[in-house]
């Protein structure tokens, strides 16, 4: 595919997203429901991983090495 500009490329990517998820055939309000559910889920996943992953990593390292590496501690 040849794209004239980045904007066109983004539009194409969004089109692929519509086609693969199948929401291409849905009505606009259904599309917005799907998008908002999906993006809020992703946002929550990112937020929780930001909050909890460092703690888990610290605990895991503690368990494995038996000492506390100071660089990994976020808090």
């Amino acid at each position: 595919m040849n794209f004239k500009n980045f904007r066109e490329y983004l539009a194409w990517l969004y089109y692929q997203y519509l086609l693969i998820t199948g929401i291409y055939v849905l009505e606009p309000w259904e599309k917005s429901i799907f998008n908002s559910i999906l993006f809020s889920a992703i946002a929550m996943v990112i937020y929780t991983s930001y909050v909890f992953v460092p703690i888990h990593v610290r605990l895991a390292l503690e368990f494995v090495f038996g000492f506390f590496p100071p660089t990994v501690c976020p808090v």
Binding site: M1, Q16, L19, I20, G22, V25, L26, V64
Partner: protein
Amino acid sequence: FLIRLKKGKSQKIIQSKTAFFPLNCPISLKVVFLCVFVYNNMFVCLFFYICFSVFQVHLASCYGGLYGRPFIESFEETPMLVAVLTYMGYGILTIFGYLRDFLRHWQIEKCSIAREKENQKDFVPLYQDFENFYTRNLYMRIRDNWNRPICSVPGAKMDLMERTSRDYNWTFEYTDRVVQDVINLGSYNYLGFAENTGPCADSACEVTMKYGVGVTSTRQEIGNLDRHEEMEKLVAKFLGVESAMAFGMGFATNSMNIPALAGKGCLILSDELNHASLVLGARLSGSTIRVFKHNNMQSLEKLLREAIVHGQPRTHRPWKKILIVVEGIYSMEGSIVRLPEVIALKKRYRAYLYLDEAHSIGALGPKGRGVVDYFGLDPCDVDVMMGTFTKSFGAAGGYIAGKRELIEYLRSHSHSAVYATSMSPPVVEQIITSMKCIMGEDGTTIGCKRVRQLADNTVYFRKRLREMGFITYGNNDSPVVPMMLYMPAKIGAFGREMLKRNIGVVVVGFPATPIIESRARFCISAAHTKDMLDRALSVISEVGDLLQLKYSRHRIQPSPARPFDDNVYEDIDD
């Protein structure tokens, strides 16, 4: 550290890596590391397994004594990722379908579909079932791709009436504009006889002037015209058999004649992808039906052997008749029946063969005589030859041909012979003229040229599609070219994008195909010029890039030739 472990291939490496953490670590810790290592390796193995096993082409080829030319059929496997995404798409659409049904049920939104009357609401529902769910919630959303009204001859090019919908395809409005010169890749117009000019149209016109259009009686009563008799003689001559008879509707030819041929105590062996008319006929006949895998002769032979060894269930009496029902070209897969092998099996096990040549008559073979001609076989080896006039001949109706006794029997026993109104004279005339043209009896070589043109077009079109990287199904010589789309949204998007670029295509989805194997089906015609095909191909390629349809991952390599000999089926065990 874990990443480095992941790259490890054997336990040796893990031994050397243990130097990185304290040597005095407890044994339980080592076990944990081993588990992690094995776990990671499992994923790597799984990944390679998927890569190598999924992307294989299934190529069936046979260059044995029974086949005059290479018999190459390919059914490339669905890539795993595409299959997963397709199921995901259907899952999402199903969830939204349930949401909409919920809204309709509580009358939050208006319900436009057929539903039970208010005073019958406690009855067993008449309209609601799963396929209805599918129609309501998936088909409705992309309904604009089907039932488009055409306002010209559906030849190589056609004119479409433009229509729009304001309520997402529940109703359509015509804009009074016409989309001109849409290239038609959907009609079964294999030899291009769907025309409004030329000798066929002229003679049909003359006959209409003489006989009128309607006959208003059945063949047994006052509806048997001289043109009907002439047509049946011509059909028999065309096919090289003793006798033939014609019916007004192709579908009814199958569904009404199989019950006349088979009944209780008979066994019908049917290909799994047989057309609905054959399935309906087999069911109506009341005989036992067993289904063999699509075009799989081993499967057919196994069923035949079982039928002969065990006989009827419970009583173990021998079956009265065994009827093998196959099609010439399978319209959804584009595959050609392995007729030489079917005939060999039929002769060996003394079964009867019913061959439905709906798509193959006119479209296959050097002389256009269908699949029998394609393989260079004797038409007398096929007990019942059925075909339609709807496709290659550009008319309507169907025929049954075979031995004289068979036809005489059917004339008095078949429902569609006794009860159906006889065929309209202009239609009969169209069949006669086009058939004479194919046979060269009109003194021209037009028919012969068209048959050759169709074969060339087919090979060219299929080759180009494969080169572009699309997954196409079926035999290399079959003018029905299914191209895989897989995802539900792509069915709608493909049809719309193609029409936007002035190409009319047929897209096919769930009830007609397995749920993930949605496809576009192109039907090549002799009327397509090379320019038209090139234009269509470039548009298909463009849309294929836009929708990411070029799923094929490899070149096609024919498998080593498998010599055919009589003992090829001997080594089958149950």
